[in-house]
Structures are given as structure tokens and as C-alpha cells.
Amino acid sequence: MLPAVIPVAFVVIGGVGTTLLQSLGLMPLVGAAELSTAAFDDTDELLTSALLSLSIAVVSTAIAAVVGFFTAVLIISGNWGGRIVGVLGAAAVTVPHLVGAATVGLLLSDSGVLARLLGVSPEAWPALVAGPTWFAVVAEYAWKESAFIALIIVGTLATRITSYDETAAVLGARRPARLRLVLFPLAAPSLLVASAIAFAYTLGSYEVAWMLGKTYPEPLSVMALRLFNSASLTARPEAAAIGVITVVLTAVVVAAAMLGLRRMRAWR
């Protein structure tokens, strides 16, 4: 037990604790430690970034949850098609996010592979990469996380779900009714947990938004890393403040998901 608990506690509590201390000005690089909330002062900037990060995370997680659920249904059906989708989904899960970002960039840019496939000239192609819609960023997260969500659902339910599905079929339930009343309620808890993990990941992840996103406004993680690496002395506490805000946002969403999970269990 202890070999796992000690390093995790050290990194999690030590990491977040130090970030918190830095954000409050208690661990300056030079000079005396002094408690202040100066790092949180630029509220307009922080709010813009937080809203941007949240919207990216909400949209991509929503797409990933829908696609992931239907992918899981296909995989569980056990047909040859489901098997192919299962293999491709598992392959997508193993791809590092950074590589995903690189390849989505090659796919969606104005001279990218998709534009060529569709025969659209670079001038007519919308600015999907680094454009105002954050399309490429959302697409990359939705792609990777949908595969993740699908595999989590399949992993937790593959053995149980088919027998319920067949029972309902024997009792005369039609396909849409089985999907809505059998498959979805059974998959809902793992769908919720997997979506919460995907959401937390998307909110805190750096490399995809950094590679495929616009330079301004920045999502929280990109702004934090830029400030962290900048030469200015006041920038470190600001970077840490963004870290603290992101931790709080993640904690709120995860807590909401856990409450939802509890209600689901009670409902059963």
C-alpha cells in the first residue's frame, strides 16, 4: 500500500500545495514572502480563458460521450463491423495526444489531407486549425476521448449487457426501446465516469490547444505555461493562480459527476 500512497501523496499534495502557495505570493523566486491575491487580480483575462477552456472541454466531451456511447453499442453487438470499430478505437486510444494533434493538423489544415480529398482549394477551406472556432482542438479531443469512453463502457459492460438486451428482445422490445430503456441506463454510470475523466483531462491538457489553437485568447493551460516560462517575476504567481483555478474548476465538475453517479445508484 505505502509504495503507492507515498509518491502519489507527495506529488499530488506537494504539487497542488506548492502551486497554491505560489499563487498567494508565499513562495516568490526572490524577495520576501507576503500573502497577497495579486495573482488573481486580472479577472477579465482569467474569466475569458476559463470560459474558453470550459467551452472547449464541454463541447468536445459532449461529442465524445455521444460518439463513444454509440461506438460502444456497435462494439458490444459483436458483429464483424463492431470488431473492426473496436480495433480502430483501441488503436486511437494508444495514440499520444501530441501525435493526435500533429496528425489532426495535417488532416484539417487549409492544405491538409481532408481539403485535398474533398477537392476544396486552400483559399476556400475554412480556418479549422488555429481558427476562431477551435474546431481542430475540439475535433482532436472528441476523437481521442470518444475512443476512451467507448472502451471504458465496453470494458465494464460487455459481459452483462447482452443478456439484458436479449431478454428485452424476447419480451418484444423494439430496437429503439431497447437502446433507450436497456442499453443506455446500463451504460449510464460508466458513461458518466468516463466523461468526467475525459472532461478533466481536456480542461487540464496543454499540448493540443497549444499546437492547434489560436494565439489569443488562450485556454488556461496555455496561458499558465506561457507565464511560467516568461522572464517576468510576477508571472510565476499568475501561472500558479491559473493552476489553482483549473484545479477548482475540475474539482467542481468531478464532484457534480459523483453526485450524479450517486443519484443514479439510488434510482436503481
Binding site: A91, T94, A196
Partner: protein, 295 residues
């Protein structure tokens, strides 16, 4: 009364048993779709396959393209310029460092996670719930927030950057290994260990010859997940590593931020995609041992 067994297909039943197909398993005629639904299923299968496969296409096409200007559907000239450029960027050394780092992370996080899972599955642990929450927390924690803080701690404690990277990545991997081993231990029967001990096996012998072979497939899955954590990481290696470790994602990022490097980015990315796929193929072939089954 006579009993006829002519309608029982023994061969088929035996085959089903070998494949462990039970009535109610997936792919049975009962829930098979027909008509419109069948068309819808095939269509959605094609769409889903495209959704998952399409991002792999640029990697393959660009990897072997020497020149490929904008409107052309396929590369104009095939060649190995991308490979040459990737090698010039230090791809081989970075591949080696990535591999070493991921293997070390897997080698530490897997046994640690297995031990934690074993302790958690016994349910006698004090504060078991709290410990579960703590061990799961790295999955939910925004990596950059923890990394900014822990980086300062590690620097002040004079921990070498390589060790720092390994430590943080092990912590990120522990939730995956712990919880996949937790699932395995939930289905594990302690009776095998106890029987072995009753028959006179030492605890070491029971561990190596009974316990580990039984949980080996789950260990392989956990190790694979931990490997992926190390293999995929960019941010921890960048910030905590402080330039001491140049792994594959780092040179992919630096190549991708330049212009006109498409083919070398594709080659590097492809080389980052293939090793996990090979491991995945091995891991998914690993079957659970079935005591008493003829092999």
C-alpha cells in the same frame, strides 16, 4: 422412450465451448438487426470506422511524400526525405529515450499498483476509501497545475530532473495500474494460493508459481497502460525534465511548430504510434489462465 441426439451438433457445441461462447453472448441471431436497421448498422459502422481511422491517413501519406503541393490528391513524389529529416532531428536517440522512460515507468508503476490493489481488495485497510480517492486523484488533476508546483519542490530538493520525470510519471500511471489490478483482484480466487500453501509450498513458491501466473494477463494490461503514460507524455518531460530528456513527443512538437516539416512530422508521429500498437496486439492476445483447461 428413446432419446435422439441427432439435432445436437457436438462439433459446434465443442467449438462454442472452446471459444467460451455462451447463449446470450454478443452476435447471436436474437438481437441481430434486419432490414432498415441492418442498413443503418452497416452505415454507422462505416462512419465510426472512418471517424477513428481518418486521422491515421495523413501520417501514412505524408510519411512517404517527398513533395506534395496543395491541390494534389496524392503525393507527387514518393521517397524517404521525411525519414532522412527525422533521423537528422535525432529521432533514433529520442525513440530510445522514450522507450527507456516508458519501460522504467511501467516497471515501477505496475508492481506498486498491483500491491496497492491487493491491499485495497482485502477491505481491511484503514481509511480504504480515502486511499482509493487519493490514488485515483492524479487522473483528474490538471497535470500542468501539479507540475508547476512539484517542479519547484523538486528543484529545491536537488532531485535530478530525470528522476523527477520518472517520479511524476509513475504517479500519473499509478491510478491506471491500481484500478486495472483492482478489477483483476475482484475476480481473483485466494483459494489457489491457500491450496498451494496447504500442500506445502513456501510463500515465495506460491507467489511465483501460482499467484503471478494467474494474474499475469492483468499485469500485462496494467504495464501496457503505464507504458502508455510514459510514452504519451509531453508536458512533464518538458517542464520537470528541463531539457535533460529529449523524448519522441518533444521532437515531434518542435518539428510540428516549424513550417514545411510535414513529412518528417509524419515519420516521427508514425514511429510514436507503432510501438504501442504492437504492444496492444500482444496484450490483447494474453488470455486468462484457465486452471483445468486442456491447452
Amino acid at each position: 422412450m428413446t432419446l435422439s441426439t441427432s439435432n445436437v451438433d457436438v462439433e459446434r457445441a465443442h467449438r462454442d465451448q472452446l471459444e467460451r461462447r455462451m447463449p446470450g453472448d454478443a452476435g447471436r441471431p436474437l438481437s441481430q438487426s434486419r432490414g432498415v436497421m441492418r442498413t443503418a448498422r452497416i452505415l454507422s459502422t462505416v462512419l465510426m470506422s472512418l471517424w477513428f481511422a481518418l486521422p491515421f491517413l495523413p501520417l501514412v501519406l505524408w510519411s512517404f511524400a517527398n513533395s506534395w503541393s496543395a491541390p494534389d490528391l496524392l503525393p507527387m513524389q514518393l521517397g524517404t526525405d521525411g525519414l532522412t529529416a527525422a533521423l537528422a532531428n535525432g529521432a533514433v536517440a529520442a525513440f530510445g529515450e522514450s522507450l527507456l522512460l516508458s519501460l522504467i515507468v511501467a516497471a515501477i508503476a505496475t508492481p506498486v499498483g498491483a500491491m496497492a490493489a491487493r491491499a485495497l481488495s482485502r477491505r481491511t485497510l484503514p481509511f480504504g476509501r480515502l486511499v482509493s480517492v487519493l490514488l485515483f486523484s492524479p487522473v483528474l488533476l490538471p497535470p500542468f497545475a501539479a507540475v508547476l508546483g512539484i517542479n519547484v519542490v523538486l528543484l529545491r530538493a536537488w532531485v535530478p530532473p530525470e528522476l523527477g520525470v520518472i517520479l511524476v510519471l509513475v504517479v500519473v500511471a499509478i491510478p491506471y495500474t491500481t484500478f486495472s489490478m483492482r478489477v483483476a483482484y475482484a475476480a481473483y480466487d485466494d483459494g489457489f494460493d491457500e491450496a498451494a500453501r496447504t500442500l506445502g509450498a513456501t510463500s515465495r513458491f506460491a507467489l511465483w508459481r501460482i499467484h503471478l501466473p494467474l494474474i499475469a494477463p492483468a499485469l500485462a494490461r496494467s504495464a501496457f497502460l503505464a507504458f502508455l503514460v510514459g510514452w504519451s507524455d509531453y508536458l512533464v518531460t518538458l517542464v520537470v525534465g528541463g531539457g535533460q530528456l529529449i523524448t519522441l513527443p518533444l521532437i515531434i512538437a518542435s518539428s510540428a511548430s516549424g513550417i514545411g516539416n510535414e513529412s518528417s512530422v509524419a515519420v516521427l508521429s508514425l514511429s510514436a504510434v507503432i510501438p504501442p500498437l504492437i504492444l496492444l496486439a500482444f496484450v490483447s492476445r494474453a488470455r486468462n489462465l484457465n486452471p483445468g483447461k486442456k491447452s
